[in-house]
């Protein structure tokens, strides 16, 4: 019986397409949301894109735990090594261009626009790959203090960053906000575009095959309105990035960020397709400046306060 069917299908040159299950990305693995919930984003013609995980607060909290654990190994890794890993991400993305173009088109993009967006996304990764071992020299200083001390200031990653990715730019926006954060040695939890989540999960596969350590980038899909308050309220998150101009949301972000003096950034005026959509100052945003002092002379002679 089954043989007959397969023969028949073959003869009609019809093959049943294998649909992809879009799962979320936490700690280097692709689990389903713990909540078991899903939502169904539609394309421009009203056709179903996929059943996508409707991530929960608990998914986010789990992701923060793995992101925190990944912090020290990623932040302390040689900058050159981080640079190579970002470059590897670009290589992987380049190799899977067609898949991303296809997904972007499913999400409503024209073929030309989709090609452009993928190319820009690859170039953006290369751009930040290059910055990994250069921004430190740009933003650090040796300070000519008046006392007899050797004194210098260097940027260090701020820690765990939660990001609500740009809603309208499914791949380029996502890459543009993740790259500077991880180039700077931070780890992150990203909520993808709500209506165009496909590229985000496929991009997680790129990350997963690029030697990015587990937990450095975690990607969730779901509703911004539901998850955003948790993204900014979590006490073990050091900074939050939000990319829309929604004033009420921005106010909510700022209010909740006060709970643990979180650093907060609104990238709501950035056109990610333009040159202004990339700069080392994006890296600087999620850096802390540390100033270190040491006496130059024998410490006993430096003249204590008492």
């Amino acid at each position: 019986m089954s043989k007959t069917i397969s023969v028949k299908n073959k003869s009609n040159s019809q093959r049943l397409e294998v649909l992809k299950t879009y799962k979320i990305y936490i700690g280097g693995q692709f689990p389903r949301t713990e909540s078991g919930r899903f939502y169904t984003p539609l394309d421009a013609t009203g056709k179903k894109l996929a059943n996508v995980c409707l991530s929960s607060r608990k998914d986010f909290r789990d992701a923060v735990v793995v992101a925190r654990n990944a912090c020290s190994s990623w932040g302390n890794r040689a900058a050159f090594n981080r640079s190579q890993i970002l470059y590897r991400m670009a290589e992987m993305l380049e190799g899977r261009k067609l898949q991303f173009i296809d997904e972007l088109m499913q999400q409503g993009s024209s073929k030309i626009k989709a090609k452009e967006e993928v190319a820009l996304s690859i170039d953006r990764l290369i751009y930040y790959s290059g910055w990994c071992d250069k921004y430190q020299q740009l933003f650090s200083s040796v300070n000519p203090v008046a006392s007899s001390h050797f004194n210098f200031s260097v940027p260090e990653p701020t820690g765990v960053v939660s990001i609500i990715a740009p809603q309208s730019s499914s791949l380029l926006g996502l890459v543009s906000v993740i790259a500077p954060v991880i180039a700077g040695g931070n780890t992150c939890i990203v909520l993808s575009s709500e209506t165009k989540p496909l590229c985000a999960i496929t991009f997680a596969e790129v990350i997963n095959s690029s030697d990015v350590p587990a937990g450095v980038v975690n990607i969730l899909t779901g509703k911004v309105a539901e998850l955003a308050p948790w993204f900014v309220a979590h006490m073990d998150v050091n900074a939050t990035i939000y990319c829309e101009a929604d004033k009420a949301m921005q106010k909510m972000f700022k209010e909740k960020s006060a709970m643990n003096v979180k650093r907060i950034f609104f990238y709501d005026k950035i056109d990610w397709t333009k040159e202004k959509g990339q700069s080392p100052y994006f890296i600087f945003d999620t850096q802390e400046i540390k100033t270190t002092w040491h006496p130059i002379e024998p410490i006993g002679a430096s003249g204590g306060g008492y």
Binding site: P144, S153, V261, R263, Y281, I299
Partner: protein, 495 residues
């Protein structure tokens, strides 16, 4: 003075009191008016609130002067003056001319250093040695340093133009009154902003003296406005709709309120908040120097320092020896009249702060830590607290977790590098930290892993206008000092 014991350790003997002849700085070198008004638009103006409040000398509770209490209407006037000065004068002025005004302010502070030190000590209770040798010269230096930046901003941020923000509202604390005013005003002016600064409730006088200096320097009217008042005045400033920037130094509690209050506005915000610095002594450290550094770290300015080294971690093998040395050293600190040049530890800034410290002294004992304090006599009047340390402190104790802001040291021990990093970083704060060891590679291992904005290695509590200062985590964000200190006062635009 010293008797040698069998085990070759030196015990200092303080049985015979080492009497220093009093060496009082003269109050006559300072002029304090009986009453001060608000400094708005280049003039001292009567407050619309019609209210004044007293400022006292915390070392004897005598009234020094009374200052105006600015209400919302007064804040409005000040912001209006600052806005007008920004639009009409300051942002149009050639940067090199702006620089010269700021240089002038630095110079006049230097000229009046002695008077300012005396007033700082009278109003705040800190030892004259500290206000004379640290607060006032550091304030002048800060103006001098940032003055030079004014016409060089195009070199500060590669590929970007640095544009002023507009009017900056600045709120400063009572622990380093003039120095904090300098830290706030100098970079704001250098970058082309105008200022409304609110001084702290208990220490308004040197800020008002600075207003006189600014007048004397002929700074265009309204570029700097200095108002006095308490929390309500500060809130009016934070909530004012025509302010572009808030800079606040103070408690984490108030900092959070301000961060929340600026939600829904475009105000740029920087916060320099509390701390609970870990000061770490390894067994290979030069212990005598480390002890000096620890003493300076926690008893400098009576411990009322946001970056004070209030958590001391000693490697177990040397803990006993270090604690003994610390106790000896504690005993030799001279506590008393802040105007006496011999004084090491002065008065607590206010009754309220003294009560906070005393609350923590009780908590420490209730939690089972062992209290040890100097046996020094305290003056009858004023707000005083003996230099104190606690041993047998647990990491979870409140005196090891919360900022006390007083001369109280919590002592803990550790064995390994990983353990101490875990303990030191286990705090919501991240302002400063200290490391004492003779091994270079260990210094860098520690300074790299400590989550703090300022790390002192084999030294402590050092500051410089060129050295960026500010916190990680709940100790705030933004830096003051150095090139990085310009960033909070500019918008960067593409070239």
């Amino acid at each position: 003075m010293a008797t040698k014991k069998k085990n070759n350790t030196i015990k200092l003997n303080f049985d015979t009191v080492r009497n220093y002849a009093p060496a009082l700085e003269s109050k006559s070198a300072a002029t304090i008016k009986p009453q001060y008004d608000l400094f708005i638009n280049g003039k001292f103006e009567k407050p619309l609130s019609k209210k004044y409040f007293s400022t006292i000398n915390p070392s004897n509770e005598e009234k020094l002067s009374e200052v105006a209490e600015a209400n919302t209407a007064d804040v409005n006037r000040a912001v209006k003056a600052a806005r007008s000065a920004y639009e009409k004068v300051w942002k149009k002025m050639a940067a090199k001319e702006r620089a010269k005004y700021i240089f002038r302010i630095a110079r006049i502070i230097q000229e009046k250093a002695r008077e300012l030190s005396i007033i700082e000590t009278l109003d705040g209770g800190k030892p004259i040695r500290e206000s004379r040798d640290f607060d006032i010269p550091a304030a002048a230096n800060h103006f001098f340093y940032y003055a030079g930046w004014a016409d060089k901003l195009e070199y500060a941020f590669p590929n970007r133009n640095a544009n002023p923000l507009g009017v900056a509202g600045q709120i400063i604390p009572w622990n380093f009154p003039l120095l904090m005013a300098a830290w706030k005003i100098a970079p704001a002016l250098a970058t082309g902003n105008t200022v409304v600064l609110k001084s702290a409730e208990t220490t308004p006088l040197t800020a008002l003296k600075l207003a006189e200096i600014i007048q004397e320097a002929d700074l265009p009217a309204g570029v700097v406005n200095i108002i006095t008042g308490g929390g309500e005045t500060g809130a009016a400033l934070v909530n004012h709709t025509d302010i572009n920037k808030i800079a606040f130094t103070g408690s984490t509690e108030v900092g959070k309120i301000i961060q929340k209050a600026t939600a829904g506005t475009n105000k740029k915000l920087t916060l320099e908040l509390g701390g609970k610095a870990a000061n770490i002594i390894f067994e290979d450290a030069a212990l005598d120097e480390a002890v000096e550094g620890v003493i300076n770290g926690i008893y400098f300015n009576q411990g009322q320092v946001c970056c004070a080294g209030s958590r001391l971690y000693i490697q177990e093998s040397v803990a006993k020896e270090v604690i003994k040395k610390l106790k000896d050293r504690l005993e030799s600190l001279i506590v008393g009249d802040p105007l006496d040049k011999n004084t090491d530890v002065g008065a607590i800034n206010s009754r309220q702060q003294l009560e906070t410290i005393q609350k923590y002294l009780k908590i420490g004992q209730q939690e089972g830590a062992e209290k040890y304090e100097s046996s020094c006599a305290l003056p009858q009047k004023g707000f005083w607290c003996r230099p104190t340390l606690f041993t047998n402190v647990a990491q979870s104790n409140r005196i090891a977790q919360e900022e006390i802001f007083g001369p109280v040291l919590a002592i803990l021990t550790f064995r390994t590098d990983d353990e101490i990093i875990e303990k030191a970083n286990n705090s919501p704060y991240g302002l400063s930290a200290g490391v004492w060891t003779d091994k270079g590679s260990k210094i860098f291992n520690m300074t790299k892993r400590l989550k703090a904005g300022v790390v002192w290695a084999n030294t402590f509590n050092k500051f410089d206008p060129t050295a960026p200062f500010g916190g990680y985590k709940e100790s705030g964000y933004g830096r003051e000092g150095g090139l990085h200190g310009l960033m909070p006062y500019v918008n960067l635009s593409n070239k």
